[in-house]
C-alpha cells in the first residue's frame, strides 16, 4: 500500500473505531454513477448554489440591511449629497470601496441566475425523460419546491440594494398583495410595517434572504441528494442496462474527479461572468424614489413570466358589496403561480393514475416514446415563453418597430392558440420518430445506396442495425391503454366507481391510444426473413408480405 493510502487509512480507522464509517464507505466508494451530459444539469444547479452561498457570505460582511436615512458622502462622486437608505449606501461602498466587492456582487447575481436556470432546465430533463416516476416522485416534489424557494430567494435578494429598480419591483409585489381579497391590505401592512415602503421591509427581507430561505433550500438539497444516492441514479436504455441494474463509473476516483472538476468549472465560469459582464449597475439607477421609474427596466429573468402575465392580462375588476376584486392583478400574481405549481407538484401521481403504471422505473424514457407527455411539456414551455416574452413587450415593440399594443394583443391571442397547437405538432413529431424507429428495427437503416435487381427493380439497400442499437431502440415497454371492463360482472353486479373508471379509460386512451408500438418478435422475424432472400429489396417486400407468410418454408 502506498504512503497516501496508509496515512488516510489511519484517519479512517480512527473515525471507524468510533462511528462504523467503513460499513458505509465500503459500500459507496465504488458506487456506480451513470454518464450522460444531461445528468450534469442538476450538478450545475448544486454547484452554482454553493457559489451563491460563498459569495453571499462575503457580501454580508459589508452590506447593511437598513432603511435608515443617510446623506451619501462616500467615494462615488455623482451621488454625493444624495439622500438614500443605508442599504443603498452600503451597496455603493461594497462596489466602490471594497476591492473585489463589485466582483463578488456580480458573481453572486450571475450565479443566482445560473442556479435558477439550471434548476429549470434540470426539471425539464426530469420531466421529458420520466425520471419522476416511481420511486422518484418524492424527489420530484422536493425539486419543484427547490425551484420555488430559489425563485423566492432570488426576488428577495433583488430587493435588498434598495436601488430604483429593486424598489419598483417591491412596489409591484405590494400591488399584487393588495389585490388579495379580505386580507391583502393586512398582508401588505404586516410586511412593510405599515404603509409602503416604510422602513422595515429591507431588514425583514434580509433575514428571509440570508437565513430562512437558504436554510430551507439547504435542507431540501440534502434530502434531494440523499434520495438520489439511496435510490441510485437512473440510466438510459442500452445494452446491459435495465431496471434491475445501474451501469456507470465508480464514485472514487472517476466521479470524484469529474464532478469535483466540474464544480471548479461552474465556479470559474461564474467568476468570469462577474468579471466581464456587468449586471444591474445600481449606481446608475440611483436610490429608490417611489415617485420615479425608469422606462424599460426588467426584472430578473425568472420573474419575467409573472411580469408578462401582468402586462397581457386584460383589465378586469368587479365589486362585491363595494369590495373590489381585482382579477387583472389577482390572476397573474396569485392564481397563475398556483395553477402552475399545483399540477406540477402532482404530475407524477396524475400520470400514474392515467397509465396505471405502479412499477419501479430506473431506465429513462426517450421523449418520443411518450408523445402525450412530451406534448404537454412543450405546450407548457410555449405558454411560459410567451408570458416571458410578454414581460419584455416594450422591447419586442422596439425591435419590430410596431406599437406595443399590437404585441400585447398578439400575445393575448397566442397564449390561447399556440400551446394546444404546439402540443399537437409535438405529438405528431413524436409519433413520426417512433414510426421511424420501428422501421429501422424491422428493416435496418437507410444506406443511401440504390440497387437494381436482375428484374430491373430499383430499391434502396438497408443496413441492418447492430444488435446493441436494435436492443436500445426496443428496450422500452409496450404501452397499452387501460381497458374499460364490462359494465357488470358475470353475476350482473355493476362494476364499482363506473364513472371514474370511464374517465380513466378515456384519459388512458388519449395517452397511449395512438402510440406506435415497437415490433413484436413475430413481426421482426417476418421482416428479417424477408431480408434473407434479397437484402436489396427488403423494404419493398414489407408492403406485400402476404405471399410469403409461411415462415417455416424459408427458414434457414
Amino acid at each position: 500500500m502506498s504512503a497516501v493510502v496508509n496515512a488516510a487509512g489511519k484517519v479512517v480507522s480512527w473515525v471507524d473505531d468510533r462511528t462504523t464509517t467503513n460499513n458505509w464507505l465500503r459500500r459507496n466508494l465504488r458506487k456506480a454513477f451513470p454518464d450522460h451530459w444531461s445528468f450534469l444539469l442538476g450538478e450545475i444547479a448544486l454547484f452554482s448554489f454553493i457559489v451563491v452561498l460563498l459569495t453571499g457570505v462575503f457580501l454580508t460582511l459589508w452590506f447593511k440591511p437598513s432603511m435608515a436615512h443617510v446623506v451619501y458622502d462616500g467615494s462615488y462622486a455623482p451621488l454625493r449629497e444624495v439622500e438614500m437608505s443605508e442599504a443603498f449606501a452600503s451597496t455603493l461602498q461594497l462596489s466602490f470601496d471594497v476591492r473585489g466587492g463589485l466582483l463578488m456582487r456580480q458573481v453572486h447575481h450571475w450565479s443566482a441566475l445560473i442556479f435558477i436556470s439550471a434548476m429549470s432546465v434540470h426539471m425539464l430533463r426530469i420531466f421529458f425523460t420520466g425520471a419522476f416516476r416511481k420511486p422518484r416522485e418524492l424527489n420530484w416534489v422536493v425539486g419543484v419546491l427547490l425551484l420555488f424557494f430559489g425563485t423566492m430567494n432570488g426576488f428577495t435578494g433583488y430587493s435588498l440594494p434598495d436601488d430604483l429598480v429593486s424598489g419598483t419591483g417591491m412596489r409591484i409585489i405590494e400591488g399584487g398583495m393588495l389585490a388579495i381579497p379580505v386580507v391583502g391590505t393586512y398582508l401588505s401592512s404586516l410586511l412593510f410595517g405599515g404603509e409602503f415602503p416604510g422602513d422595515d421591509a429591507i431588514p425583514r427581507l434580509y433575514v428571509i434572504h440570508v437565513l430562512l430561505v437558504p436554510g430551507v433550500i439547504i435542507a431540501l438539497v440534502t434530502i434531494h441528494l440523499m434520495l438520489i444516492w439511496y435510490q441510485k441514479h437512473t440510466h438510459w436504455a442500452g445494452p446491459g442496462r435495465d431496471d434491475s441494474n445501474v451501469q456507470g463509473y465508480p464514485l472514487f476516483p472517476i466521479y470524484t474527479a469529474k464532478s469535483g472538476g466540474f464544480f471548479f468549472v461552474v465556479f470559474g465560469v461564474s467568476v468570469l461572468m462577474g468579471g466581464l459582464m456587468q449586471i444591474l449597475p445600481v449606481w446608475l439607477f440611483g436610490p429608490y424614489d417611489p415617485s420615479v421609474v425608469s422606462a424599460g427596466t426588467q426584472p430578473d429573468w425568472y420573474i419575467g413570466f409573472l411580469d408578462g402575465a401582468l402586462r397581457v392580462m386584460p383589465a378586469w375588476e368587479f365589486y362585491i358589496a363595494g369590495y373590489p376584486i381585482s382579477m387583472s392583478v389577482l390572476i397573474p400574481s396569485v392564481i397563475l403561480p398556483g395553477i402552475i405549481m399545483v399540477p406540477l407538484l402532482l404530475y407524477p401521481w396524475l400520470e400514474q393514475w392515467i397509465t396505471g403504471d405502479k412499477r419501479e422505473h430506473h431506465v429513462l424514457d426517450r421523449p418520443r416514446n411518450m408523445p402525450v407527455r412530451t406534448g404537454i411539456g412543450t405546450a407548457f414551455i410555449t405558454f411560459y415563453l410567451l408570458l416571458w416574452i410578454s414581460g419584455g413587450n416594450d422591447f419586442v415593440a422596439i425591435i419590430f418597430g410596431v406599437p406595443v399594443q399590437w404585441i400585447t394583443r398578439f400575445m393575448q391571442v397566442s397564449l390561447i392558440v399556440l400551446p394546444p397547437l404546439v402540443f399537437w405538432v409535438t405529438k405528431r413529431i413524436c409519433l413520426g420518430m417512433q414510426r421511424r424507429d420501428r422501421e429501422k428495427v424491422l428493416h435496418g437503416a437507410e444506406s443511401g445506396v440504390v440497387a437494381v435487381s436482375p428484374e430491373g427493380e430499383y430499391s434502396e439497400v438497408h443496413t441492418p442495425l447492430s444488435p446493441q442499437k436494435a436492443y436500445t431502440l426496443t428496450a422500452h415497454k409496450r404501452q397499452q391503454p387501460i381497458e374499460l371492463g364490462p359494465e357488470t360482472d358475470e353475476h350482473g353486479i355493476p362494476a364499482p366507481r363506473r364513472g371514474r373508471s370511464k374517465i380513466r379509460a378515456r384519459l388512458s386512451k388519449a395517452y397511449f391510444g395512438d402510440v406506435i408500438q415497437k415490433p413484436t418478435r413475430e413481426e421482426l422475424e417476418l421482416a428479417q426473413h424477408d431480408g434473407h432472400h434479397g437484402k436489396q429489396n427488403g423494404h419493398q417486400d414489407d408492403e406485400t408480405p402476404a405471399d410469403d407468410n409461411d415462415d417455416s418454408t424459408h427458414r434457414e
Partner: protein, 359 residues
C-alpha cells in the same frame, strides 16, 4: 443513512452476475435479446505511451497555469486601486479595470483546475465501467409486518387509544399552540385603517414643483406641457423615519394643460380644472408604478411598467392595458396670490385597488 448492500459488482467482460430481486419492467428480450454490455472503446492513452505522456503534461500545465493565475490575482488586487484622485473619489473606470483583472485571473484559475481534473479522469484514470444490481426499495413483507406489530405494541403500551381524556386534552393543547405564534406576528404592522385612502392633499394645499418645492402659477403651463408636482406640506416632513418616503409613494401628481376644446369634462368635475389645467395622481391604479410617458398630442398617459394607458382628456379613463380604474383626479383651484392649490384631498383612492378602498 445507509444504503442497502450494493450487491455483486461486475466489470465489463465478466458478464452479468447475481440476480436482482427487481423484476425488469418487461420480459427481457422483447423483441430483441439484450446483447449485454459492449466492451469499452480503447483510449489513445491506453495504447500509446506518447499520447499518455502528452495528456500528463497537459493536465500538469493546466494546474501550473492555475497557480500562476492565482498569483496574478493577488498582484491585480494590490496594483489596481479603486480611488485615483486626491479627493478620495472613486474612478468608475478604475473600478472596472480592477473588476475585470480580478474576475479574469480568478475565473480562469478555477476553470483550469476544473478542466485539468476532468481531463485527468477522462484520459488517464484507469477505472473500468461497473455494473451494480439494484435492489427493491421496499422492505420485505416480514419487516413490514414486524414494524406494524411493534407500532401496535407501542400504541397499546402507551394506553394512548384507551385514555381518551389524556388524548383529547393533549390534542386540544397542541391545536392551540400555533396561536401564540400568530399573535406574536400581529405587531409586524398596524391595522391598515383608512390611512391608505388619505394623502397629504387637503383644502388649500399648494401644488409645488416636486424637487424645488416652488409654487406654480397657471401661466407656467403651456398647452401640451407636463409638470411633476408634490403638495407643499411634503417639504416639512422629517427626513428621518418612513413618513416622508411613504408620502412620496402616494402623493405625487402631475399637471398638464389641455386645449379646452379637446376636453371632455365629467359631470361633477366642471370646476376641478383651471383654464384647461388638470391635475392627476402619478400612481398607476394597476399595481402602483409611477407613470411617466405622456403623449401630448393624443393626451394619453402610459405606465412604463405594464403599459396601462389613460386618456387624460377624458377624465383619466383607461383606454388600454391591465389597469381597471381611471387615474384619480385632484380638484384644482387658484389661491388669492395666484398659485395653484388643491380644493380637497383626492376623491377616489390613489394607487392599486385594495379591499377597504370603498368603505
Amino acid at each position: 443513512m445507509t444504503t442497502p448492500e450494493s450487491g455483486e459488482m461486475a466489470e465489463y467482460g465478466e458478464g452479468r452476475t447475481g440476480t436482482s430481486e427487481l423484476e425488469p419492467a418487461q420480459p427481457v428480450g422483447d423483441p430483441i435479446p439484450d446483447p449485454g454490455p459492449a466492451p469499452p472503446a480503447e483510449r489513445m492513452t491506453d495504447i500509446d505511451l506518447k499520447a499518455e505522456q502528452r495528456v500528463e503534461r497537459q493536465v500538469a500545465s493546466m494546474f501550473g497555469l492555475a497557480s500562476l493565475l492565482i498569483l496574478a490575482f493577488l498582484v491585480a488586487f494590490v496594483i489596481f486601486p479603486l480611488t485615483t484622485d486626491d479627493g478620495g473619489a472613486v474612478d468608475v473606470g478604475a473600478v472596472r479595470v480592477s473588476n475585470v483583472a480580478l474576475g479574469v485571473t480568478l475565473g480562469l484559475a478555477l476553470v483550469l483546475i476544473g478542466l485539468g481534473a476532468i481531463h485527468w479522469a477522462r484520459k488517464l484514470m484507469t477505472s473500468k465501467m461497473v455494473i451494480h444490481e439494484r435492489h427493491q426499495l421496499r422492505s420485505t413483507d416480514d419487516v413490514r409486518a414486524e414494524t406494524l406489530a411493534d407500532f401496535e405494541l407501542g400504541t397499546a403500551e402507551s394506553t394512548f387509544g384507551r385514555r381518551k381524556m389524556i388524548r383529547n386534552s393533549l390534542i386540544g393543547a397542541m391545536a392551540l399552540l400555533p396561536l401564540p405564534a400568530v399573535f406574536l406576528l400581529r405587531d409586524l404592522g398596524p391595522a391598515p385603517g383608512g390611512v391608505k385612502k388619505n394623502t397629504l392633499w387637503d383644502t388649500g394645499v399648494r401644488v409645488v414643483h416636486d424637487r424645488t418645492f416652488a409654487p406654480i402659477r397657471p401661466s407656467e403651463l403651456q398647452v401640451g406641457s407636463l409638470v411633476v408636482a408634490m403638495p407643499e406640506n411634503f417639504e416639512e416632513l422629517p427626513h428621518e423615519g418612513p413618513e416622508r418616503i411613504n408620502q412620496r409613494a402616494k402623493s405625487p401628481v402631475f399637471l398638464i394643460r389641455i386645449d379646452p376644446d379637446d376636453l371632455r369634462i365629467e359631470e361633477g368635475r366642471e370646476n376641478w380644472q383651471v383654464d384647461g389645467i388638470l391635475c392627476y395622481s402619478k400612481i398607476c391604479t394597476h399595481v402602483g408604478c409611477p407613470i411617466t410617458l405622456y403623449e401630448s398630442d393624443t393626451h394619453h398617459m402610459l405606465c412604463p411598467c405594464h403599459q396601462s394607458t389613460f386618456n387624460l382628456a377624458d377624465a383619466g379613463e383607461v383606454i388600454f392595458g391591465p389597469a381597471a380604474r381611471p387615474l384619480p383626479q385632484l380638484p384644482l383651484a387658484v389661491d388669492e396670490e395666484g398659485y395653484l392649490i388643491a380644493q380637497s384631498d383626492f376623491v377616489d383612492p390613489v394607487g392599486p385597488s385594495f379591499w377597504e378602498m370603498n368603505t
